[in-house]
């Protein structure tokens, strides 16, 4: 994780707790799961199963399948098509912790 490349347009947006890779964070309520990961500074969200290279959400509209993460125990979910909910558990698919 590094400094986020994104910020919220809204000043002091209402927050929602989510759990990413076992760590609890507060993020703006309005985010999709993919947006939440970007907001928290996850540059990459999975490793490519063939090449091992890091990959990140690309289209944010459900057509590229680059944003696959596990959500509340369900594997390979498209993070861009899901909205965050309180205490949602998100696991990125990076071998080392991201």
């Amino acid at each position: 994780m590094t400094d986020s490349l994104f910020r919220s347009l809204i000043k002091d947006p209402p927050q929602c707790p989510i759990v990413v890779n076992g760590v609890e964070h507060q993020v703006p309520v309005q985010l999709s799961v993919a947006a939440a990961l970007l907001y928290l500074g996850h540059l990459a969200t999975r490793q490519h199963p063939v090449s091992g290279e890091p990959r990140a959400p690309f289209c944010h509209m459900g057509v590229c399948f680059e944003c696959l993460v596990s959500i509340d125990g369900q594997h390979k979910q498209r993070a861009c098509l899901r909205q965050i909910t309180p205490y949602m558990c998100i696991e990125t698919l990076m071998a080392g912790l991201n």
């Binding site: 986020s4 490349l5 994104f6 910020r7 919220s8 347009l9 809204i10 947006p13 703006p28 309005q30 985010l31 999709s32 947006a35 970007l38 907001y39 540059l43 990459a44 490519h48 063939v50 090449s51 290279e53 890091p54 990959r55 990140a56 959400p57 690309f58 289209c59 944010h60 509209m61 459900g62 057509v63 590229c64 399948f65 680059e66 696959l68 369900q74 594997h75 390979k76 979910q77 498209r78 861009c80 098509l81 909205q83």
Partner: protein, 461 residues
């Protein structure tokens, strides 16, 4: 036994909403399915929930969808957000549509089906497009519409109205745009001149477009005549390399948004057996659609950008005419008023598609974009490079579908949505055949991956 709907509409964008409004007004039992959290489609994504700050930044065209959205929300039809259609097939009663809702599979049966699932961005296989830090301009705009998220700093690269619109919206929100690299070939401007006549039939649009183009050129670092864009960086994007008039330049940046126009999402229609035609002007495959959205498959219609890219207003009109056609076929309700409305709609749709020719010609993608080479990844899912594909294409393989079994390109989770077009270009170049002869990738179920558990829980048809 499932309830049988009279009209099932996939997509709650301008096209789907308009069709559902017409059909439910006539008393048909209508169901609208959409994978987004709220109705509106791409243009009006999240419009019902967006705050005033978002609305201000997104501009007047965004807010202008409010009356349509309100009419849709008031219409007497069932509407299911957050559902992903993963399979459609013909059924004795019409069609059966299988969707995933919160991880569970449910099926719906309908006598008539309208595909209004819209467009996607043209995939752009340039070196490094698979690195984190690269996304599409549409993705950037979706983050702004639905999540109110903005980049701190960004490079925009490519061509087309959506890229300029995003630049305008980012500027309004105070985002630092390091540069806008415009890849529109200079020759496009000359070729587009005759199309000005068509554009002049929609003067407001033309004026708005000109204004949008001019303002960005003045207000942000705007570099035109750009070609051969590459994303540089090791694991993550750290810059962009590009060429202008034969000279190569680098810009440092860690976020790049790409755009090269839109192409219709044809997978659902293909799955149901609709023939595809290559549109050389728009450089994409399209489903053959009649004046009121009809397809060669009985009971199946396609409307809006899912058929041919035309933008929001055209999608709205196409949705309306498709909805009316469905109503007319149901009730033989051929009143004089309906006939007149129908005639007017047909005329407007024809005229607007013609006027759209100006945008299509002006923003036709540059030739270099269809010639990825070397180790540039073309199929992101299976990590297949351009040279691997060209090598097989050179052996004389019959087309993209054979190429798929040799290289695995197009076999991944995205079902070739991100590589299909470029596989076609590579085969066409290698074998010196026109694109129209290189068939598109065949679509097989499921439309999106589904796990065995979900399949097992699938209710009986």
């Amino acid at each position: 036994m499932n309830k049988i709907y009279d009209y099932l509409v996939i997509g709650a964008g301008p096209a789907g909403m308009s069709a559902a409004i017409e059909a439910s007004k006539a008393g048909l039992c209508v169901l609208v399915l959409d994978q987004a959290a709220s109705a509106g489609g791409q243009i009006y994504r999240n419009l019902g929930q967006a705050g005033s700050k978002q609305a201000k930044v997104l501009g007047p065209d965004y807010v202008s969808g409010k009356p349509l959205l309100a009419r849709f929300m008031a219409a007497k039809c069932d509407y299911q957000p957050l559902v992903q259609v993963w399979h459609i097939e013909a059924h004795e009663k019409g069609f059966v549509v299988a969707v995933l809702v919160s991880g569970e599979s449910i099926t719906y049966v309908t006598s008539h089906l309208l595909l209004a699932n819209g467009a996607m961005e043209r995939p752009i296989a340039i070196a490094g497009w698979d690195k984190p830090g690269v996304m599409t301009a549409g993705a950037g705009q979706i983050l702004l519409k639905s999540s109110a998220l903005l980049p701190k700093q960004v490079v925009l690269a490519g061509s087309g109205p959506l890229l300029l619109l995003l630049a305008q919206q980012y500027r309004a929100a105070g985002v630092t745009i390091t540069a806008l690299l415009d890849t529109t070939p200079k020759s496009n401007y000359w070729y587009a001149i005759p199309w000005l006549v068509a554009g002049l039939t929609t003067p407001t649009q033309l004026f708005k477009g000109l204004w949008l183009t001019l303002v960005q050129r003045i207000k942000i670092p705007y570099i035109s005549g750009v070609s051969h864009i590459e994303v540089i960086g090791k694991e993550h994007a750290s810059g962009v390399r590009y060429t202008v008039s034969g000279k190569v330049y680098d810009i440092a940046c860690n976020l790049i948004m790409l755009h090269q126009g839109l192409i219709p999402q044809t997978q659902m229609a293909q799955l149901l057996g609709c023939p595809q035609v290559w549109n050389d002007f728009k450089q994409c495959w399209q489903t053959q659609v009649g004046a009121a959205g009809q397809t060669p498959i009985d009971g199946l219609q396609v409307a809006g950008d899912a058929g041919a890219i035309g933008g929001a207003y055209l999608a709205q009109l196409e949705g309306r005419i498709a909805g009316l056609a469905r109503v007319n076929s149901a009730a033989e309700l051929r009143s004089r008023r309906n006939k007149l409305v129908n005639l007017w709609l047909r005329f407007r749709i024809k005229q607007l598609h013609w006027a759209r020719g100006l945008i299509d010609r002006l923003y036709q993608p540059a030739a270099w974009l269809s010639e990825p080479s070397g180790d540039t990844v073309v199929c992101r899912c299976e990590q297949v490079s351009a040279e691997a594909i060209t090598a097989i294409a050179n052996t004389g393989c019959a087309g993209v579908n054979q190429l798929k079994s040799f290289t695995r390109a197009g076999m991944g989770a995205c079902q070739g949505r991100q590589c299909g077009l470029n596989l076609g270009y590579l085969v066409a170049h290698a074998q010196q055949r026109p694109m129209s002869e290189v068939e598109p990738l065949t679509v097989r179920p499921p439309l999106s991956p589904i796990c065995l558990g979900q399949l097992a829980r699938r209710s009986e048809l």
